[in-house]
């Protein structure tokens, strides 16, 4: 969990209630556990439906990472989206490994 995680969710104005924050963390951990392995398994010769699923996985992780205060992970997820959208699947595995490292606190 990154240092700015709590700050991003709760800072400024009225903070979300603690039970909501706990639920968000649980949901994000579940999302990472569900989607990251699919991204890690993506091969350069992936079928179109696998690429489409990977796009959705990267997009969801990117959006959710912002909510949980993981901007660096969100940026990498967005970069993966761009590469997948451009058909550059071959460069994706390296990016996904970078994403996995940034999200390692959520998989332990």
């Amino acid at each position: 969990m990154s240092a700015d995680q709590d700050g991003a969710v709760g800072a400024g104005g009225r903070a979300l209630p603690e039970h909501a924050l706990a639920g968000l963390r649980d949901a994000f951990a579940a999302e990472v556990a569900d989607r990251l392995p699919r991204l890690l398994a993506l091969r350069p010769d992936a079928a179109p439906d696998e690429v489409a699923q990977a796009l959705r996985d990267a997009h969801t992780l990117g959006s959710s990472a912002v909510v949980l205060g993981e901007p660096a992970a969100s940026r990498v997820a967005r970069a993966i989206e761009v590469e997948l959208s451009s058909g550059r699947v071959g460069t994706v595995p390296e990016r996904v490994r970078e994403l996995a490292a940034l999200l390692s606190a959520w998989t332990s």
Partner: protein
């Protein structure tokens, strides 16, 4: 808690994180109850039909059935104020926002990205504010979803696709000619103000203007920073007149629709239609402001302009339209029955700023009548 004022909301997102965040954000002030969650467009259509919530908060990028189609179907079967929030509506993706508005959504918010500096609680507060406005919008059955289900329309037109015709027949009757002799030769500018529900109303109105129009058209649409270029591109692909974003120091071109840029007020400087973009007044809520532009048109052109105030919440444009009328311009207000929100036109009507109050379909013919033209 005042149960009478409690708004019920269905949230639609395929991410459990986002759904949880939305629920927590919306329910934080005790005025909203999230009564249902949908993971895709198809679930959303069914859930809204069953629960009949006060409003819907929906992402656009959805599996099974996409957000645009879901909006069309909801607005066809169970008209409900829909507030879109999505990562795909800002910057280069702003055409998606316009497509959502055209499909019947009442407003669009961009999801925060990794480089946004505001906190998520700031964003949550923005969502609550937008929802408070959205639930006050009186929505009407939107025909596109119904026509699509009957195979009468294709997919939504692509940005800049050159369709060059209205999306839908407007049901316009015979031309409604203005009974005063404006001769058409003296009017130089048609100034149009719009807010909530504006993009769809603008499409209907601008689609009725012919490609050889001799007058300049200036549009002031309340819209968040970054969305105006998308609005211009979207309209440019659908109406016969070219549509551009205004630039400070330039002149408004005849036969061209110029949309006021975001970030300031666009003022008409003189009867040669030179415009200047100036910073908004301190505390000005809507930027670009309609009052400021209409007032400048009144001073620069007097009777040689037509003012039109379309659907929108609040009262921006009412005082400016009154100034135009007092200087002899024809002033038109959209009527209550066809307004998504009868706020600005109502305020103008109450000030006696509206010379002619008309249903949306008849505003184009009335404007053309004032220009000495008839609807083709």
């Amino acid at each position: 808690m005042d149960l009478v004022s409690l708004s019920t909301v269905v949230v639609v997102d395929d991410s459990a994180v986002q759904r949880r965040f939305l629920r927590a954000a919306l329910e934080a002030d005790g005025e909203v109850s999230v009564v249902g969650e949908a993971r895709n467009g198809r679930e959303a259509v069914a859930l809204v039909g069953r629960l009949r919530p006060t409003a819907v908060l929906m992402d656009l990028d959805l599996p099974v059935m996409g957000g645009i189609e879901a909006i069309e179907r909801i607005m066809s079967a169970s008209p409900t104020p829909i507030l879109v929030y999505s990562a795909f509506v800002a910057g280069v993706n702003s055409d998606n926002a316009l497509e959502a508005l055209a499909a019947g959504a009442v407003d669009v918010l961009a999801k925060p990205g990794p480089d946004d500096t505001g906190s998520m609680e700031d964003y949550a507060a923005a969502l609550r504010r937008a929802l408070r406005i959205a639930v006050r919008v009186r929505v009407i059955t939107h025909p596109r979803g119904r026509l699509r289900s009957q195979g009468m329309v294709g997919t939504a037109p692509a940005l800049g696709g050159g369709a060059r015709r209205p999306l839908l027949a407007t049901g316009t009757g015979p031309p409604d000619l203005d009974d005063r002799d404006r001769a058409g030769g003296t009017v130089k500018l048609v100034a149009i103000g719009a807010s909530t529900g504006g993009p769809q109303a603008l499409l209907t109105l601008l689609s009725q203007l012919p490609p050889d129009l001799c007058q300049a058209v200036l549009v002031i649409q309340h819209m968040a920073e970054g969305f105006i270029p998308g609005l211009a591109s979207w309209l440019d692909g659908l109406v016969s007149l070219p549509v551009v974003v205004g630039e400070s120091g330039r002149r408004l071109a005849p036969g061209t629709v110029t949309i006021a840029p975001s970030g300031g007020n666009l003022l008409v400087q003189d009867d040669r239609l030179r415009v200047l973009c100036v910073p908004p007044d301190p505390g000005q809520f809507h930027v670009p402001g309609i009052d400021a532009t209409f007032d400048s048109v009144a001073r620069a052109l007097g009777p040689d302009a037509v003012g039109v105030l379309l659907t929108g919440m609040g009262r921006d444009g009412a005082a400016g339209l009154l100034a135009m009328r007092q200087r002899g311009a024809l002033t038109v207000g959209q009527d209550e029955a066809t307004s998504t929100v009868y706020g600005m036109p109502a305020a103008a009507f109450a000030l006696d700023a509206v010379e002619r109050q008309l249903p949306l379909d008849l505003i184009g013919p009335a404007v053309l009548g004032a220009l000495g033209r008839t609807l083709r």
